[in-house]
């Protein structure tokens, strides 16, 4: 009997704690006019995506510091509230819910992986709060969600950039597409096929492979047989790129190669070395692309002692663009901020120039870069159709 009593007491205590706890977070704190404005940030602090998570965190921190140093938003300072997304779909949804409990949070910066954003979409719809993402899957902003804002060009644009560069600049008409068989790779393949078709080119080969492939002999044989002179790749993991590049060189295949960002990622370059020299890739961020990008790179290097990448650049831009919208908005109600975001025109960020459309896509251009003896050089910026 005593045991039951103890259990009951414990249950009541937990309940009270829960209720008072909730009460506390839902109560708005401080004076409206001078209180800091909170930006929620879902950051991967644990799990396999901590590396990218760290970059995203740095980018956001840098932007917040710069904005606060310049006087904040109409006199109010910005602060970041970070939650661990645990590198998983479940983790990001949990983190999102936690951030929503804090009613002072005006906007939220989400994670990059498209699958994680897809997992969050229903909650975002219900929560009705502006959420920024770096996920590039085309469908994310075309699902009817009015609250998702994308700070990187989507995969349809990268496909257009790759196809256009392959056909118009490299003048290759026998093009093969090699892609991972996941959502990213398959989606990219479809977009690339469509983009090539617009340019009057039908791919001579369309080849999927499974992520984590260790031997690309079969892929290379198929490429050789197809007679392709150009190759567009959507490969999810950069180590796979490294192995493919090495084996292409070893097995004596000569081909013009432009691929998604994994082609220039550090692991790929480390593994492949000179086997990747001369290859092209699309990149949403490049320090030479514009003045803001250059300024960002310098500030980032000064603060964190390393070069930024696209993970840090898009969160950096997200904070700036959110701040701009909040300055312009009549109040900080979510709907007002949303409208202000949609009204943003020609805002120069590190990634490019932001003009949000009704879908929430901010950018419409892609950089083409080349691996020149392990230095990633900007070749050109290609404007894409949305």
């Amino acid at each position: 009997m005593n045991k039951r009593l103890a259990l009951l007491v414990a249950a009541v205590m937990v309940l009270t704690l829960f209720i008072t706890g909730c009460g506390k977070t839902s109560k708005s704190s401080g004076d409206k006019a001078t209180a800091p404005i909170k930006i929620g940030h879902i950051v991967h602090m644990t799990g396999s995506a901590v590396e990218a998570g760290g970059e995203e965190k740095n980018g956001a921190i840098l932007a917040v510091e710069e904005i606060n140093a310049a006087g904040g938003i109409n006199g109010r300072k910005l602060i970041l509230v970070q939650e661990d997304g645990q590198s998983s779909n479940v983790g990001v949804v949990q983190a999102f819910h936690k951030l929503l409990e804090d009613k002072d949070i005006a906007v939220i910066i989400g994670p990059s992986p498209s699958t994680q954003i897809a997992a969050m979409l229903p909650t975002i719809n219900d929560a009705k709060i502006p959420v920024a993402t770096g996920g590039t899957n085309y469908g994310l902003t075309h699902s009817g969600c009015q609250w998702l804002f994308r700070f990187r060009p989507h995969d349809g644009m990268s496909a257009q950039a790759m196809a256009s560069f392959m056909v118009n600049d490299l003048k290759q008409k026998k093009v093969a597409i090699v892609h991972s068989t996941d959502a990213f790779g398959n989606g990219g393949r479809d977009l690339a096929v469509a983009a090539l078709k617009k340019l009057g080119v039908t791919p001579v080969l369309d080849l999927g492979y499974n992520n984590d492939e260790k031997d690309f002999t079969a892929v290379i044989n198929a490429l050789k047989k197809s007679g392709a002179t150009g190759m567009i790749t959507y490969m999810t993991f950069s180590p796979d790129v490294g192995i493919l590049a090495k084996q292409i060189k070893q097995q004596g295949l000569k081909i013009n190669w432009i691929g998604s960002a994994s082609v220039t990622a550090t692991p790929a370059r480390q593994l492949a070395g000179e086997a990747l020299y001369g290859t092209y890739a699309v990149a949403d961020y490049h320090p030479d692309a514009n003045d803001k990008a250059k300024k960002f790179a310098d500030a980032y290097k000064a603060k964190f002692g390393k070069d930024p990448d696209f993970y840090s650049s898009w969160t950096y831009d997200a904070v700036y663009v959110f701040a701009e919208a909040m300055k312009k908005a009549p109040d900080l109600k979510p709907e007002s901020i949303r409208q202000a975001l949609l009204n943003i025109r020609g805002f120069q960020g590190a990634e490019g120039i932001y003009n949000f459309d009704q879908n929430g896509d901010g950018l419409d251009q892609y950089n083409v870069v080349q691996n020149v003896n392990d230095v990633i050089k900007l070749v050109k910026t290609i404007k894409a159709q949305r």
Binding site: N210, D212, T217, N221, Q250, L271
Partner: protein, 297 residues
């Protein structure tokens, strides 16, 4: 490119990958035979071996080959610790607790590696350092030196292991231990030492396979997962618990995958091993060599 050299290229790649499956599978089989434990952490030994080699050879403070040998010694120590930490406390329990413990160890190894080395894939240099392609082209077939090293090491190890188990008394004692532990003890065979040796050897060959594939793959905390799965498929096809089965199963799996990818579909490359596994489970569940040692004695 002639069809012949094309087939040669595919065969070579398949055999080399198959050699790696074989090394991992051998570890699984030896531990299973000696202690009736299905070791789900065997794939992770490859990951550990690769990371140990990376840690020792990174920065080239010590000669690579010295680092290589040292890494094998470290793996031996890890093997002993694994035996003492995972198997020994549960040795008198039924099948399941130990197997679950190995799954736990596998998770621990992966997360430990992630905590220590981070998520960034790491690189290890190949055994034969050659400028250019890192290989040689003969008759239209490119032979990657590292692939050659893998094949040679696999064959040499298989041969050495065969000689050891067939022609030494220690080998016989280890076999006796795996066949009937209580009887072995009553004959005065120090069974716990035999078991510890089995774990040490299995960990070392697991680690060795990781050290050999490290330059081809990248070293990541997940690198052992797929290898472990393929090795399991190989052992089941070969006949679970049969050493020859592990060898044949591993090599065959590598070759089938390689040809399947080239002539049927690159997308379903990993599915071939599963398909093969299913076929065996349906048609010949005991595997290729799984009929001998009937429970007669």
């Amino acid at each position: 490119m002639s069809t012949l050299s094309l087939i040669g290229q595919i065969l070579f790649a398949g055999l080399a990958i198959g050699g790696v499956y074989t090394l991992v599978a051998l570890g699984i089989v030896l531990i299973y035979r000696a202690t009736n434990v299905v070791n789900f952490a065997q794939g992770d030994f490859t990951m550990l071996g690769a990371y140990v080699l990376f840690a020792l050879s990174n920065g080239e403070k010590i000669n690579f080959f010295v680092a290589f040998l040292l890494a094998l010694v470290v793996m031996a120590v890890l093997g002993l610790l694994f035996e003492l930490g995972v198997y020994y406390p549960l040795r008198n329990r039924s099948f399941l607790p130990v197997v679950i413990a190995t799954i736990g160890a596998s998770i621990m190894f992966q997360n430990g590696a992630l905590a220590i080395f981070g998520p960034m894939p790491q690189k290890v240099r190949p055994v034969i350092y050659a400028s250019g392609n890192g290989g040689i082209t003969l008759g239209g077939v490119f032979f990657d030196y590292q692939y050659i090293v893998i094949l040679v090491v696999t064959l040499a190890l298989v041969l050495l292991q065969y000689l050891f188990f067939e022609y030494t008394v220690l080998g016989k004692k280890m076999q006796a231990t795996s066949q009937d532990k209580d009887m072995a003890r009553m004959l005065g065979i120090p069974v716990s030492i035999m078991i510890a040796l089995t774990y040490i050897y299995s960990t070392v060959i697991g680690g060795l396979s990781g050290m050999l594939v490290a330059p081809i793959f990248f070293v990541t905390h997940k690198m052992g997962v797929m290898l472990g799965l393929k090795a399991f498929a190989a052992t089941i096809c070969g006949g679970f618990g049969d050493v020859r089965g592990a060898i044949l199963g591993g090599l065959a799996l590598g070759v089938i995958e390689s040809f399947g990818a080239a002539f049927i579909s690159t997308v379903y490359k990993d599915a071939f091993s599963l398909l093969l596994l299913l076929l065996f489970l349906l048609i010949r569940p005991q595997g290729i060599f799984g009929e001998k040692v009937a429970e007669k004695a």
